[in-house]
Symmetry: C2
């Protein structure tokens, strides 16, 4: 039988014009960031040397919706809204009665959801007159997103890329260079903190926590420079909600609604992007939607971490955040899903998890690889290693439906393509990773 | 000013349901393929050991439109129709009064237009009971498209990949392996012809012509195996016309029409795909649309070749085709746009060129690279080296409009992304290629 449709397409003029700020709807009020120097709640003023003012305002805002500037919408419209896709060929392969949908964020300039936040972040910095931005990057997705947006708005970008990814993904660096981004392997000799880490542990694969410290140190010590973060913080989660807001409109168009909402989770941004608007529905309408954050077994902050105040970085330069954490000095093993190698998890995602509004599960590298292969062979999209965590979980749920015969509706976030991560697939095909 | 729209979106149910066969509309009748053994026109019967019967029927058909099978449409709908995109950010950068549109074929499973033909080709072979397909591939785009389609329909695929590309693009091989394709560097020791070439010229970078001979030899000497070609032949041009047919519908939706239709041209398939439906309009309505095939300076079959009968391959195993050719023994220099390293050009494209219905131009590697950089920085799509030829020509036309002040409408075919060709960009950024 030929399928009625593969894609639910939203017109670009029907793209959401406001982001959803879930802080306004939390069951338990969010614990604020704490300035380690004072032991007190960090003030906007204290954050201003690090972040653009408008981003701090968004970070602390309790408004339920926040307008997306027309100039930001205009660029997003070059590659958004993306369709809600039905995984027709995967469903057939699995012989499941479940309906599997996904949002595919890989059609952005950088191949992931990260541009959803880099574009507004650079825009607000540009408006404020900032001329140079620093950041860290794991797999290179956020770094390239920042480089693209900086190039667009005419700012310089300086990217500290976690050393293990820098070695594994040379073409991510090429992409950043193409957009005039400057890239250093972290730890680097460019910062005091980087030099110290290199002296103490010359063979370290690096971590996101180390790279964040370097990027913050650089921003604080260079004129007219600010720091940007691609995940974890409230304003980043906010910008990503455009994914779930689009998906809600698209489900309305086909008169369906998900029983499962699934995304991979490192710092939390792509998870938040798809999930938060559905969490709102769950709260407002008392639904029993299963909303699941999927993390790697080797870096299980939600499923194995503690919910407490911790630093966002390894060098303890950032405010302390109340979050699920493995400890800011935790060094996850080098792995292909570099974007998930973060010791903590977004304070908002942590808050929702503590309140039982969302669930979490941890998956192993072999399972997520096999899911990636099945998905590539059926749907024809070769996913980023991070995103295969979500695919794997969605497949598991679809196979449960096959056992029970239930026609559940599943949606997951395919946060990016893996075309610059092909060594992930190559090493598995060669049996180098078990 | 914020742009009204970036993308003209066609609903998937409005996707063309027939391919357009331009053979029915040519000014000069097409010269048929000749069997070198007999010196006579090749018969369908003679071609049956090489190609599936339905593909031979299409190759020889003079029907103006040919139905696309529903099973083929169903898979194409997973990634088609793609939007007609307006290059809003490129136009701003160039400060041109021209309107620049493009069709982007990079969102297919393999990242190029090649799946438009691999899916029907494998489908018809499957229907006929063929179990194994062979082919050649240059940049790896066609090889991966064949592997994807074979995996989907349950056939084996055996791909001879031109040696220079095999070395430059290891991850194209990974992609083919992921879809269960078998890949050998060509010339290989797997065929008599390959062994002969290796003995005579051990250091050859390989050519598409050599790889074709190997793939045909393999098909002829292996049970229940057929050969498939990703370009040049009439039935391949036919399958690609879905691109231009979609674009025509999309231009109707915005009440615009192109003055320039541009695509890169090696064997001719992506050029044909966009251009042929517009050539039909040009003939039917006596329009003065400029339809331009862009080739590399280093392999200029249309602009420098002779229009005569020649072999399609180096080993002289294929029928002779009347086409513009540099000679079937011509070895183009190793270059990044491996998909354009073919000594000849599609007989239909050659016929149109000889009749003055289309134009051709040749561009150098430095110019096309610079165009690729500009496009990546503005539109955010990092194009395949082949496709940057079309981008470069479109930019040149837009800059002419800037001089004259004319508000011309340009459309080009962005035949694929360059995410598996990043060494192209890396080597240029490092100054290794001048």
């Amino acid at each position: 039988m030929v399928q009625d449709y593969h894609k639910v397409q939203l017109d670009e003029n029907d793209m959401p014009k406001k982001w959803y700020n879930i802080v306004s709807d939390l069951k338990t009020p969010l614990d604020p960031p704490v300035n380690p120097a004072t032991g007190q709640v960090a003030t906007a003023k204290e954050l201003e040397p690090v972040f653009a003012k408008e981003l701090i305002r968004q970070e602390m805002s309790t408004d339920q919706f926040i307008d997306i500037p027309p100039e930001v919408l205009d660029i997003l419209k070059a590659f958004r809204p993306n369709p809600l896709r039905r995984a027709v060929m995967l469903e057939k392969y699995l012989k499941t009665p479940a309906k599997i949908y996904y949002k595919y964020e890989g059609e952005s300039p950088t191949g992931s959801h990260k541009t959803n936040s880099s574009i507004p972040q650079v825009y607000y910095n540009m408006k404020q007159g900032v001329e140079r931005l620093t950041t860290e990057t794991g797999a290179g997705q956020w770094g390239s997103a920042l480089a693209f947006a900086c190039n667009h708005f005419g700012l310089e970008s300086m990217i500290y890329m976690v050393r293990s990814s820098y070695a594994q993904k040379p073409h991510r660096k090429t992409l950043m260079n193409l957009w005039n981004g400057k890239v250093l392997a972290s730890p680097s000799t460019n910062t005091e903190f980087g030099r110290r880490v290199l002296k103490e542990t010359p063979d370290t694969p690096g971590t996101l926590g180390i790279a964040i410290t370097e990027a913050v140190e650089d921003a604080l010590s260079t004129p007219n420079t600010r720091y940007t973060l691609g995940s974890v913080l409230n304003h980043v989660m906010l910008h990503q909600t455009i994914i779930g807001l689009e998906a809600q409109k698209q489900f309305e168009m086909i008169e369906d609604y998900p029983d499962y909402v699934i995304a991979c989770c490192g710092g939390g941004s792509n998870f938040a992007g798809l999930a938060f608007p559905f969490v709102k529905d769950k709260i407002d309408k008392n639904l029993d939607t299963q909303i699941i954050a999927v993390e790697p077994e080797s870096c299980p902050s939600l499923t194995q971490g503690e919910f407490r105040y911790d630093y966002g970085d390894t060098g303890a330069m950032t405010p302390k955040l109340k979050m699920y954490t493995l400890g800011c000095e935790f060094v996850p093993p080098s792995m292909h899903a570099g974007g998930l190698r973060y010791h903590g998890c977004s304070p908002i995602v942590s808050n929702l998890y503590a309140d039982g509004l969302i669930k979490a599960e941890a998956l192993g590298q072999k399972d997520i690889f096999n899911a990636g292969i099945i998905f590539s062979q059926t749907e024809g999209i070769t996913a980023a290693p991070e995103s295969t965590h979500a695919i794997c979980s969605a497949i598991n749920k679809a196979l449960e439906c096959k056992k029970t015969g239930e026609e559940k509706t599943i949606v997951f976030n395919l946060s990016g393509h893996g075309l610059l991560d092909m060594s992930f697939y190559q090493e598995f095909l060669e049996g180098k990773i078990q």
